[in-house]
Symmetry: C2
Subunit: 544 residues, 2 copies
């Protein structure tokens, strides 16, 4: 017997309607390529989005077809976030930092029919345009920068919009209809696509507005530094419209000063980004006085938030780091690290320790850890195993791929294998020890590279550090450290002292030889800002 409740599908246009009906006068702020600030209100956004839906139809975009975006965070990108799914097509956000080969692969694999591109980014597409097999047109969004004259088949966004009719025509969509597509950054093999649905997007939006997760609210002024081409911008654009938070889009200006300015001038309450964004901001704030007291938190995801960063922001600026963890395959949110009353009441050293964990599972995300045979391990905070997850915003398969690699990411009984090694304690706190493939097996024992990285980065003279394994006949793998010293510590970096420092926490066989400590000026990063260990390992192979 079924309940007698309305068949009310959780589709994205309903989020848009909330923005229109409940928060018409709320502002949306965007910093453009020319550093000007653009402001308009949710009601203007709604009207332009309706017109944009008609622009898409006029262009010939059909239901289910993929439409690419290649753009910074801005109000136009927000319009695309809604208009494309609302006509039943699929928003495909392209990562502007991908290597050309990957970008080509992704556009062709997704069969994108159109690409919406910021004027300031057109030059990146010009060399690739002839290799995009399905793209019919580039729609250029005027962000104040010149359009690369080499890009063919272009048409201007505002021109199309100015001609479009304001006619509210929202097709009835099934809640399981595909809404958006995002590819993993592909640290192994080809990039793989996660195809989100309207339902998963809607539920995820609710997920980040819960009081015990990110608690997005009409009281928030939120700065998503995380790019809109990176896993739905962590769901923030949709959640803003659902709940009336005021978004402040930073455009292309993601280093310390412009972020500090936006936070101060717009009285930002919550900002979200990867650690490599917050580190330079911290350094900048240390040297320059800006008022960041409006902040109730900095959401850190993408990579683990180092404990030192958590401590520094708290002690120096009273800014709380809210550690979150997710994956492209998870829409992305999996956990948020808020402190439960039992921990909140303890002293700072305990609190910081917990804040450096990935945190508690968000409602609707189930988690368990398993051993190599798939047996569930206890949630005791000690047992380490591979983390499996399931929930309504987690993929059940990758988009259009039959590779064994893609299939092996799922258990027979429907869990997604994250590839992360983790523990979960009795209070439910998840702590990720390492990526499965980033564990180092030295002298027959597993070493967590992440653990050593975090310890290294707590050293006063180290800015960034990463740890990988190098094939070694004696030890199986040898531990290799790459590190970037802080300003002023570069010249006479003392490896001997560092080894002594490591011995505070690690045993002898885990500590690298002096020749395996590489002091560098930069560590290669992936397109989403993570340490690119694939590149480092390849370098080491060439060296040995």
């Amino acid at each position: 017997m079924q309940g007698l409740m309305m068949d009310y599908s959780l589709t994205i246009e309903k989020i848009l309607f909330r923005a229109r009906d409940n928060f018409p006068y709320q502002e949306i702020i965007s910093r453009m390529a020319d550093e000007s600030i653009h402001r308009y209100k949710f009601i203007n956004f709604y009207e332009r989005t309706v017109k944009l839906m008609n622009v898409l139809r006029t262009l010939g975009v059909k239901k289910n077809e993929r439409v690419g975006t290649f753009a910074w965070n801005s109000y136009r990108h927000l319009e695309l976030y809604f208009a494309i799914p609302c006509i039943g097509s699929v928003l495909h956000t392209l990562n502007i930092r991908l290597f050309p080969e990957q970008l080509k692969f992704i556009v062709n694999h997704a069969e994108d029919q159109f690409i919406f591109v910021d004027a300031s980014l057109t030059k990146l597409l010009t060399p690739l345009q002839d290799e995009f097999k399905t793209v019919k047109k580039f729609i250029v969004m005027e962000d104040g920068a010149p359009v690369d004259p080499g890009l063919k088949n272009t048409v201007m966004y505002e021109e199309l919009l100015s001609k479009a009719e304001f006619k509210e025509d929202f097709p009835l969509l099934d809640e399981n209809q595909a809404a958006a597509l995002c590819y993993t950054s592909g640290t192994t093999g080809d990039p793989k696509g996660a195809l989100y649905s309207h339902r998963s997007t809607y539920l995820h939006s609710l997920g980040i507005c819960l009081a015990d997760t990110l608690a997005l609210s009409v009281n928030d002024i939120i700065l998503p530094v995380v790019p809109m081409f990176h896993v739905n911008c962590w769901g923030i654009p949709y959640a803003c419209c659902l709940t009336g938070s005021k978004p402040v889009f930073p455009g292309a200006h993601l280093i310390g000063k412009p972020l500090a300015e936006l936070i101060q001038n717009e009285k930002v309450t919550l900002a979200a980004g990867v650690p490599s964004i917050w580190n330079p901001l911290y350094q900048f704030l240390k040297k320059n006085h800006y008022d960041v007291s409006s902040l109730r938190g900095l959401v850190v995801g993408g990579s683990a938030a180092p404990r030192a960063m958590i401590e520094n922001f708290d002690k120096d600026f009273g800014v709380k780091i809210i550690h979150a963890w997710g994956m492209t395959e998870m829409s992305p949110l999996g956990t948020v690290c808020n402190l439960i009353p039992e921990i909140k009441s303890q002293d700072n050293s305990v609190k910081y320790k917990y804040m450096a964990k990935q945190g508690l599972g968000v409602p609707m995300v189930e988690m368990k850890i398993v051993d190599d045979e798939g047996k569930t391990l206890p949630k005791d905070g000690v047992s380490n195993g591979e983390l499996l997850v399931r929930g309504p915003w987690i993929i059940k398969e990758y988009y259009k791929t039959d590779s064994e690699d893609a299939k092996s990411a799922f258990t027979l009984d429907g869990w997604f294998k994250t590839g992360d090694i983790a523990s979960i304690d009795k209070m439910g706190y998840l702590e990720i020890t390492d990526r499965k493939k980033d564990l180092i097996k030295t002298r027959g024992e597993w070493l967590s590279s992440v653990e050593m990285e975090n310890f290294l980065m707590s050293h006063e003279s180290i800015m960034e550090a990463t740890v990988v394994g190098r094939q070694d006949d004696v030890r199986g793998e040898a531990v290799v450290v790459f590190l970037v010293p802080k300003e002023g510590h570069t010249e006479n970096f003392n490896k001997h002292t560092l080894i002594h420092f490591l011995s505070e926490k690690f045993v002898k066989w885990q500590i690298p030889k002096e020749s395996d400590i590489h002091v560098v000026t930069a560590i290669p990063k992936t397109s989403v800002g993570k340490f690119d260990k694939k590149v480092l390992r390849a370098q080491l192979k060439g060296d040995s």
Copy 2:
């Protein structure tokens, strides 16, 4: 094309699993009939609920069958809230305050197979037992009171539980499976049933945990004074398990002192109930010193929160009234009155005015107001019309009834007609003026009885007041007031002064004659604590 997200059904056992996995050590507190305090933890609750599922199976409860509960708020009732839906059966909470005729009608209409009853309430069922056509057994929950010896076919809850196996057997359920049944209190015609689904219950639980609604959180210690036999206890039991809030169940002790004690002793952060609960609590706190500083809010629903109550609690105790509105047909939550920044920044008189409104629509609840022809009216805060709603936790039809009355509650295009007359302003704030059937038409003009009631109750010497229409040849309807003076004001209540007071706000033709002002010792109330205007109107008809 469908998205490639997991087919993860939103079913109630997943809420239970969260309680088990994330908050095993959280406490559940219950005050029993003998005033003892019972405490156990979520993990104990989980284990007993699993056993209770097996008890139900042993009793012979089948999928889809309705199982009644007739009980106060307590941990055993919580166990039933989960165990019954988790085996695919339907939890049917019976209102213990119903008139015998209504109770008989409801049990027989729902075809309840079993009724779980608190020992202290057995005596209420004894006279009716032979008229319940489908009930096979009464399962008595030992709350410290004696069992009425007249009740036949009884079996003891704890005895069954002590014999039951701890075997976790959760059937796979569709998310649209019926989960719970609740009847309207029936101010017109027979009571009508709302049949909730697992999905609607899950979404509603998310709905009340959002930062901008009731923001239920693991930090909360919540006192649901609203009975568990009243519209899912406003969803609090499910939300507690989803988010780890600590529930404090008050049992049968709902007047001032025991509530004040629980708030003080358990450091309650949030309490929820009808205005007729909070009025006596306020009076009690004025005379007795209790520490209620742990409270972040009192949620008021069921009837409108009078502005005077909002002001008094704030000024005298710093306690914020959180005004909410809902209906049995809506699971129940429709709106919550939190103040948006634009209003928060204004002075108290503006804030109180807004706090007395029903508030902003909760995400997933759409609202509009329409005129008599069904045409949508503007959201300008001035236009008044019937309030229509839709959303995933709102009924699409009543349970097993073909009456015209039941059918006429829905529009052809799928909205539920609330029967409330309301306005919505440009910021989305809903203000309910009246029940459609409680408007009074006098001299051809509509008068809102609620408006006059609220004004009367703001008078220093009036405790409760209600306003109804009386047939009158000249005026169509004449305005009639029933009022209960406050202690110490009973003796020489001056009607003349009252008429003068009314003239501050109402025009001459709206003001009742002295003979239409009835000073009484109590106003009849419905089983859920609302003024029973049906009874008053019948009295007046008899009189005239």
